[in-house]
Symmetry: C2
Subunit: 161 residues, 2 copies
């Protein structure tokens, strides 16, 4: 997968500071989401500190993983719909999360890489729904749903100024 | 508030390693949830690294804050229902998250402390629902719902062993 680009490799610099997936945030998780056939894949090895109870992954990290995999999946899908592919010189869209639902099916072990599979549905040209399943090895531990919207221009203007 | 105890000050040591709220996790966020009259309050100042887009808080941190404020609120409520108060020598229950729903109403500014107000409803003696509102100063930026269950004994046995 070394030559393949993640959507997060291609976000514009101004939008690449996300604590979850921004390549320019030195302290962040650096989640990376790839397109595969008809779905996305995000693989992440939790840090030893990312504990709920020792041995199991903290739910907030799992929610974070689902959040960024969700917006990344939507960005992949809209970019592809518009006829582009990563690395062709075009700038992919940047989505933000409108809502995030996470159901924890069972405790998620902390010592194996997690795989998130995302499946995307367009519900409006600028609003996409993503269903995400989080697996530890073959075991589905968490499911999530993200409603992601193309970032409005107003997002980058602080609300209290 | 210096003499007042947070629920997270009173979790048993084995359950105090949570990356979100564990007092024993040196790398965690150390969220602290207090009981006030008929609701809970959790105040948190996001770290400068916790960025979505520069100037605004990362949604995964907001989800994490809601997650731990939710389980902490449920633990407060059940402990009080059982006739205890923090610091009386009794051990409060430890809840885990069954589901987490977060709706992002508007971008959350990163430079002010966030206040989470939690309101608890018992839906079963071991299963509680918590509604949480996240405010940046007076502005409600995020709302969440956590369904929390008393941690089952099986949680601490790794599933793949």
């Amino acid at each position: 997968m070394s030559e393949k680009l993640a959507i997060q490799d291609c976000y514009p610099d101004d939008y690449a500071w996300c604590y979850g997936c921004g390549r320019l945030n030195p302290e962040g998780h650096h989640f990376k989401t790839y397109w595969e056939e008809d779905h996305t894949k995000t693989i992440y090895q939790p840090d030893p500190a990312h504990t709920a109870i020792p041995g199991f992954v903290y739910g907030g990290i799992l929610a974070s993983l689902i959040d960024c995999a969700g917006t990344g999946s939507a960005a992949h899908a809209l970019h592809r719909k518009e006829g582009h592919q990563l690395g062709d010189g075009s700038v992919p869209p940047r989505f933000v999360t409108a809502s995030l639902n996470v159901t924890y099916l069972k405790p998620t072990p902390q010592t194996v890489p997690l795989t998130v599979i995302g499946r995307v549905e367009e519900i409006h040209p600028k609003k996409w729904k993503v269903q995400l399943d989080v697996f530890a090895q073959e075991e589905k531990c968490v499911v999530g749903e993200v409603v992601a919207v193309v970032m409005p221009d107003t997002f980058i203007k602080p609300i209290d100024k």
